[in-house]
């Protein structure tokens, strides 16, 4: 184990950790602040990933494309399209109460996945899109490229965090929490519950699209294996629960902690005696599950629990 190796491993850990942090911040807007149970994260993530990949790749006979736009525009496109998908879904489903919304959103994620697999003129189906560019790729070669990309990812994390914090502290965020905690009284106070919910859902989905776009650029190759619900939807839920639902810092902390836990356990299970080798991957899954249980039991409201922002009055 040499130090440069460990350093680059840490870089890769932080890149994926950063992408998960964005997903967690998005879910925090929807669930932590708005109380909307979105179990279809993978779907919106997939829409974002494919949108940005198609917008930024050069022409190919295999799929729609050839726009060759710069990566930041790809990210914007991903946010817009994922947001639009979220809006369409919200118009239909957002009135459903929490559990029913969860079921509907799982179904919608599956529909989106099937569209991706089948519409091969658009996405090249199961064969996937290749040669997706990375931002600022001309600056470096080889592994150094990862460091540049790490900076790019965390710059986006910072922007999303600032936006989410602003939403959290704003009157809009307070109304949202009021709706989450007591819908009837919020409606009685004159808040348009449905409108608020649609806005929340759309904002969350747009951010999920950005996270999807970033992973497409990180992997440089995108196929339906990147939109697996286990590693996108459910892991993100665990991250938010562990980090602290309703707290933006908690969302980022949860994403980093759980992703590190998920990844590092393999290094340990690989050190098991050889007769365990064929089982070590499954032992790892068990271990991850156990650790999550401990975290969830010990820290009920997450590592950083929700804190209401202080009410600030303008100085007269």
């Amino acid at each position: 184990m040499e130090l440069t190796g460990l350093f680059f491993y840490a870089v890769s850990l932080l890149i994926l950790g950063g992408i998960y942090a964005i997903l967690c911040l998005a879910l925090n807007v929807q669930w932590g602040m708005g109380g909307l149970f979105n179990a279809g994260i993978a779907g919106f993530y997939g829409v974002g990933a494919y949108t940005s990949a198609i917008l930024t790749t050069s022409a190919s006979s295999k799929h729609l494309g050839g726009f060759g736009l710069p990566v930041p525009l790809g990210l914007v496109g991903a946010a817009i399209l994922a947001g639009l998908a979220g809006w369409a879904v919200a118009r239909i489903c957002v009135r459903l109460k929490s559990d029913y919304l969860a079921m509907a959103s799982i179904g919608i994620a599956e529909i989106l996945r099937l569209v991706i697999v089948n519409e091969s003129w658009l996405t090249n189906g199961s064969l996937g899109l290749s040669r997706i560019p990375r931002p600022l790729a001309d600056l470096t070669t080889g592994r150094m490229g990862d460091i540049v990309f790490l900076g790019f990812v965390w710059f986006v994390v910072l922007l999303v965090y600032l936006a989410a914090s602003r939403l959290h502290d704003s009157p809009w965020g307070r109304s949202l929490r009021a709706i989450r905690d007591n819908e009837a009284s919020a409606a009685a106070a004159g808040k348009n519950v449905e409108k608020f919910r649609i806005q929340t859902f759309v904002i969350g989905c747009a951010i999920m699209g950005i996270a999807g776009a970033l992973s497409a650029h990180y992997f440089r190759f995108l196929s339906p294996t990147a939109t697996d619900p286990l590693l996108v939807t459910f892991l993100v839920w665990v991250m938010l629960m562990a980090g602290g639902s309703g707290n933006n810092k908690g969302a980022i902390l949860g994403a980093l902690t759980i992703w590190t836990l998920w990844s590092v356990t393999e290094i340990f299970t690989n050190r098991l005696p050889p007769e365990w080798a064929t089982r070590s991957s499954f032992i790892r899954m068990l271990l991850v599950g156990l650790l999550l249980q401990v975290v969830l039991q010990r820290f009920r409201s997450g590592l950083l629990p929700e804190k209401s922002p202080p009410v600030k009055f303008r100085q007269e």
Binding site: M1, E2, G5, L6, F8, Y9, S12, L13, L16, N118, S120, G125, S126, L127, G128, S130, R131, G142, R143, G145, D146, S215, Y218, F219, R220, F221, L222, S223, P224, T225, A226, D228, L230, L231, V232, W262, S263, E266, I267, F268, N270, R271, A277, T278, S280, S281, F282, R284, M285
Partner: protein, 400 residues
């Protein structure tokens, strides 16, 4: 205090992996151990372990012993990239065998393995996209691309004197991969595709697709699909409707089930392409005997041959390079896999290292083929032409 103990235990566990085994050479093995193809994996782990075990029994690797370090892709792009990063950075492996699915193989290669300059050899990834990776000559595979069978199939159809065909293929990576290459290769060779229809699996009736396929004056219907699903139904419904009499199929359709369903008479004029081994392959038998001797059963499971060959080739490459220098190993991999050189088969590690010590070139002839890489790190392979013979199929020609 409790935390301190846990920490100490963890540190000891990590340390035990590195300190005690100074003379060991690691080889990274990336597999989709958990996830959608988990049930394929146990015999493949055995195949890789068998190669490592044989090496250690017959003189070891670089004077020490070889150790397989596994990475689990979980069958997803995220997991594949993460596992590959750990193999190249934390475990510091000089070469990676794997992975199995095309999606995880390419994502791991693009995001982690190529940037780190590590050579990679996949036993089973068939995606055409692998051919065009900008990989600096680092990524190899020992299974033909889906494109290859499509090209050979087009050649077979032209050689048969058929100039106009109708084509239908199943909408998944198998059907689309072979189908699209067939279209390109066949039209380029001067053939004409008068009708074309992509179809979905698991339907009961394909009569509407067949009706539009039969509109041209095609001499034969090319079906790229599975006999147990859409392919078998399409052939049967085409015969029932009297729409086509001559069919051309691929390995998916070449199944005894098809003959049971429609009868051998109806398939008299049809023929099928399928990957095959050279007529006599003692290497495959040697591997299967060794595998079953070690694990009792499972040598005939899918991809065992390829996984073993890829692992053995990776180990040979390290020995040939004489060090764990990553760039040298990529070069050495081509030298040990390709002609010319003294032939070495599965399990013949002692012979191989003796030859390498003498400075002779070796050429590994594996159970799955001879692994002659082209400039893209792809291999050709043997495609056989099969016709129906009684209840089964008879190979009438081998195209290389």
């Amino acid at each position: 205090m409790k935390k301190l103990t846990t920490f100490m235990a963890a540190a000891a566990l990590l340390g035990s992996g590195t300190a005690a085994l100074a003379d060991d050479t690691k080889i990274g093995i990336l597999m989709d151990i958990t996830g959608p193809i988990a049930n394929f994996i146990p015999p493949l782990q055995n195949a890789a372990d068998l190669a490592v075990k044989q090496v250690n029994e017959q003189g070891g690797l670089l004077g020490g012993s070889a150790v397989a370090v596994y990475g689990d892709t979980t069958g997803t792009a995220q997991g594949a990239v993460d596992a590959a990063q750990k193999l190249v950075n934390v475990e510091n492996v000089p070469i990676i065998m794997g992975s199995l699915m095309s999606g995880t193989t390419i994502a791991a290669a693009e995001a982690a393995i190529i940037p780190a300059g590590v050579p990679q050899i996949s036993p089973t990834a068939t995606s055409p996209a692998m051919t065009f990776l900008e990989d600096n000559g680092l990524v190899f595979r020992i299974v033909p691309s889906d494109n290859y069978q499509g090209e050979i199939l087009a050649k077979m159809v032209m050689d048969e004197g058929i100039k106009k065909v109708a084509l239908t293929y199943v909408n998944n990576d198998y059907g689309v991969g072979i189908g699209e290459t067939f279209i390109d290769a066949y039209t380029e060779a001067g053939g004409e595709i008068v009708a074309e229809a992509k179809h979905e699996e698991k339907k009961d009736s394909y009569r509407s697709e067949l009706a539009s396929l039969a509109k041209g004056d095609a001499e034969a219907l090319v079906v790229i699909a599975y006999a147990g699903d859409s392919g078998g139904k399409i052939v049967r419904q085409a015969i029932e409707g009297g729409l086509f009499t001559k069919f051309v199929g691929t390995d998916g359709l070449r199944d005894e089930l098809l003959i049971q369903n429609v009868g051998a008479d109806a398939l008299k004029t049809s023929f099928f392409s399928s990957p095959t081994s050279p007529a006599e392959n003692p290497a495959q038998k040697a591997l299967h005997d060794a595998f079953n001797a070690a694990y009792g059963e499972g040598a005939d499971k899918a991809f065992v041959d390829q996984t073993y060959d890829a692992t053995f080739l990776a180990l040979l490459a390290i020995e040939k390079a004489g060090s764990t220098d990553r760039a040298k190993i990529a070069e050495a991999l081509k030298e040990v896999a390709m002609a010319p050189g003294e032939k070495v088969g599965p399990g013949e590690w002692a012979k191989a290292i003796a030859l390498i010590k003498e400075g002779k070139d070796i050429d590994y002839e594996g159970a799955s083929g001879s692994a002659e890489f082209d400039e893209n790190g792809d291999v050709g392979g043997y495609i056989g032409k099969f016709v129906v013979d009684g209840d089964g199929y008879k190979q009438v020609e081998i195209v290389e």
